[in-house]
């Protein structure tokens, strides 16, 4: 339980169980209730976890995205804190994102300190590529193909489709209705926040597991391959950039373990990507 909530609950229980109950100070209880309600409201404002019939909007996506990003970073040994590498990934990534369907979004691209070969996207514009894959993507055309794939996952809300909205946010609305009386309402408010937090954590866990253990279903991955290919080409990167990385991974001596473990088999992906140049043609002379 959140320590602050535990404290408020303890205050209320203390008031109720106190030997001085006969001299029960209603003002104190009211203050405790107000504080509990404030915490409830704060939690709602911070993560908008209970909007009733309203949809999950950008504010919720931010909280979910941040939380999933934390999990991804935590599970892959942290971030590579190299400013040059991070700048390169962000320049290429933001160049691509500018022509995506969410050009005005805040996009963040990071390199995970892991030698595995993989890339992930989290809601709200987070894209992560492992150091192992980054080192394979020698050219910006190849990097653009990889990042374009992940950008497509985000613009099409693939990660957030892993869990239904009601899995994230249901079940806590009616808690208050089960109680009557002021102090019961206060306890219910505390319980409501706790239930919402637990439910939120479960939802984030589901998305994280879906992203880094199970991966998306194959049609979703093939659609992201195609979307990334189109986005890279539209931006002016070689359309064969992603394909060339996948081909490289098929060569003898390339890392075979933990390579795109959350993606469809390489040969299936290669079948669907046209064999196109892996390097953009030089720009015409001025």
């Amino acid at each position: 339980m959140n320590p602050r909530l535990f404290f408020i609950g303890a205050v209320i229980l203390g008031l109720i169980a106190s030997p001085a109950r006969a001299q029960f100070d209603f003002n104190k209880l009211t203050k405790a209730i107000d504080k509990a309600k404030t915490i409830t409201d704060t939690a709602k404002d911070a993560s908008k976890v209970a909007k009733g019939a309203a949809g999950i909007g950008p504010e919720e996506e931010k909280v979910i995205g941040d939380s999933v990003a934390l999990e991804v970073i935590g599970k892959f040994g942290g971030l590579v804190r190299d400013e040059d590498i991070t700048r390169r990934v962000n320049l290429v990534g933001r160049a691509l994102a500018r022509y995506s369907t969410r050009p005005e979004h805040q996009w963040r691209f990071g390199v995970l300190a892991s030698e595995t070969v993989n890339a992930f996207s989290a809601p709200d514009g987070y894209v992560f590529i492992t150091r192992g894959l980054y080192d394979l993507a020698a050219t910006d055309d190849q990097l653009a193909g990889i990042l374009g794939h992940e950008i497509t996952h985000i613009t099409r809300h693939h990660a957030l489709n892993i869990v239904r909205r009601d899995e994230f946010f249901s079940g806590s609305k009616s808690l208050l209705e089960k109680y009557s009386g002021d102090y019961r309402e206060a306890n219910a408010a505390v319980g409501q926040v706790d239930a919402q937090l637990k439910q939120f954590d479960v939802g984030v866990g589901k998305i994280t597991t879906g992203l880094i253990e199970k991966g998306f279903d194959q049609p979703t991955e093939f659609a992201a391959d195609q979307g990334g290919h189109d986005l890279a080409a539209l931006t002016g990167y070689a359309p064969g950039g992603l394909r060339s990385v996948l081909v490289q991974l098929q060569q003898p001596g390339s890392p075979t373990k933990k390579t795109f473990s959350t993606h469809p088999p390489l040969k299936e992906r290669l079948k669907r990507l046209p064999d196109e140049p892996a390097a953009a043609p030089p720009p015409p002379a001025p």
């Binding site: 996506e61 941040d66 934390l70 962000n90 005005e104 990071g110 709200d124 909205r165 998306f216 979703t220």
Partner: protein, 165 residues
């Protein structure tokens, strides 16, 4: 692999591909929309051409001609060229939220503002023992916000990407 989340994902995926690929088979008379807060209408299909107007997010336009990745578009007397990557076949107002409901442009605007880690996510890091990841993420957010839109624009120009290709 087990199909978990979208049993009928293929038709949806194909529809989305068709919807977002502005370049693909846009013919004269097609309807497109601006997708950035500010889009410059140009007198010629070149980023260096004179401005013929400035359009706000979600402006509905009709394609009247195409030349490579550039589209000549009009809305009544207003006409000019825009790089196809700066247009969408879907109006921003119809961009869907997680529940399938439209996401308002005002929400999109709010989303775009540079920000740090949300307080709720910082709490999440504490609950889950992810303090190191939180520090890394804050570092990444700082690095990202240090890279300005102007620097990305310069990069596009130098690398001859997007409308500069």
């Amino acid at each position: 692999m087990k199909n978990r989340s979208m049993p009928s994902a293929w038709p949806l995926a194909l529809l989305l591909i068709a919807a977002v690929s502005v370049e693909a088979a846009l013919v004269t008379g097609s309807i497109v929309y601006t997708k950035r807060f500010k889009t410059t209408l140009l007198a010629e299909p070149s980023p260096l051409a004179a401005a013929a107007g400035e359009l706000a997010l979600g402006r509905k336009l009709t394609v009247t001609e195409s030349k490579g990745n550039w589209l000549h578009v009009s809305d009544g007397p207003l006409a000019g060229w825009i790089f196809s990557g700066n247009l969408s076949t879907l109006p921003p107002a119809e961009a869907k939220g997680l529940d399938g409901l439209p996401v308002a442009a005002s929400q999109t605007t709010a989303t775009a503002a540079a920000r740090g880690l949300t307080p709720a996510a910082a709490d999440y890091a504490g609950r889950r023992g992810l303090e190191n990841a939180r520090d890394d993420l804050n570092w990444l957010l700082e690095q990202s916000s240090n890279l300005t839109d102007e620097q990305v624009e310069e990069f596009l120009q130098e690398q001859k990407k997007g409308e500069y290709k």
